[in-house]
Symmetry: C2
């Protein structure tokens, strides 16, 4: 076991990623940032060619994405990129509200100033990204903000759920953050969460997190019903 410890120090961190995992990431990413659009068919043999892997891998990847809700399987027709229904999107925002609110409350009750400091740092990254019009950066840092929220109170299961649900509404997210004033209101609402946490105000943090998600949901609904014709 001593050997284990010494070995660990110099262990060569191999990628360790299997081909399947790489392919999974590629396809998920392709869906999430719109290379494949909702409703597009995902023909197994075509994906094999595009990814350069065998059908076995492609099938496993499709199964995985199916269980993530990113891909739907039509009987006798095959897999397509899942269509996002407005009602479902609202449900996802609602769940995020419940879980992020919970995490925020727990952070506040923790009474550890380091939490609020870490969140402030993420928040500043978000503001900077908005200023630079770097929208992918906004999304990434927003994710990072919430990941901090969950991981600071050791709630990785809840974080996993939130993450899982979030990829399904990713294109909605990228639309909401481009909305007028969102670059100001969003960070302001998140700052309220951080403030409540710093004050140790559990219910306040909960409410602030709920409010933030609720406003995102409202914007998403407006955007989605406005663009219904395009879909």
């Amino acid at each position: 076991m001593n050997d284990d410890l010494r070995g660990a120090a110099i262990r060569v961190e191999r990628p360790a990623k299997t081909l399947r995992e790489l392919a999974l990431d590629k396809v998920r990413e392709a869906i999430v940032n719109g290379y494949f659009r909702p409703g597009d068919r995902l023909v197994e043999r075509d994906l094999c060619a595009q990814l350069g892997v065998s059908r076995t891998i492609v099938r496993e990847v499709l199964r995985h994405l199916e269980s993530e809700g990113l891909v739907a399987n039509l009987p006798n027709k095959g897999p397509i990129v899942a269509l996002l229904d407005l009602g479902e999107a609202k449900q996802i925002y609602e769940i995020r509200g419940a879980l992020e609110g919970m995490a925020a409350r727990l952070c506040a009750e923790q009474g550890n100033p380091a939490i609020a400091d870490a969140l402030d740092k993420s928040l500043q990254d978000i503001r900077n990204s908005y200023q630079d019009r770097d929208m992918p950066g906004v999304l990434a840092h927003t994710s990072s903000f919430y990941q901090t929220l969950f991981s600071m109170v050791d709630r990785h299961v809840a974080w996993g759920v939130v993450n899982l649900l979030t990829v399904r509404i990713n294109h909605l997210r990228s639309m909401t953050i481009k909305t007028e004033n969102r670059g100001v209101q969003g960070p302001a609402q998140m700052a309220r969460i951080v403030d409540a946490i710093r004050r140790g105000d559990g219910p306040g943090a909960y409410q602030a997190a709920m409010d933030h998600v609720a406003s995102a949901s409202a914007i998403a609904e407006a955007v989605l019903s406005g663009q219904q014709s395009i879909d």
Copy 2:
């Protein structure tokens, strides 16, 4: 279209389930009710033989269960039945509390007496199962109770999340319900949820649902730490 209606009546209801789905259900069930124990290795070719299907299917099934959290994949060793650690179990109970509380509150705010009636019916089923010492029945009807809670307010996404998480703690559930007095306390706590819903008391319903899960969590923790040596 008239033809459709007449045709539907005599349509031969094909299984429509693919072999993969059947195999998935079999393996999931085998894990959930303990035929495969946590930590057991799931050797692909053995599963092929036991299920009577090809490796293609088995691999897809294992991937699927992996993304459900029921199966873990050790690098260079292969899949095993996921081990449940206490902290994770507590997190799952906590999430269930948040979501079931949310659903209960929504049910109460709905102001539809049919909801409470339907829940009462499930509750009676649970009581009967307890009386008959039919533990699988208790679990099934408890699931049904919560499914009603979610589906009555059209929250199938949240129900999906709860369901997903619940299978991971299934063996804990089957232990908690065998606890002394649980056959009385459990239904009593659930009755409080139903009462609050019938009164239209949103916060009360929320709190009652939280309390029920919290007590289940406490029992699970006691059971788990008591049996730690057996694991």
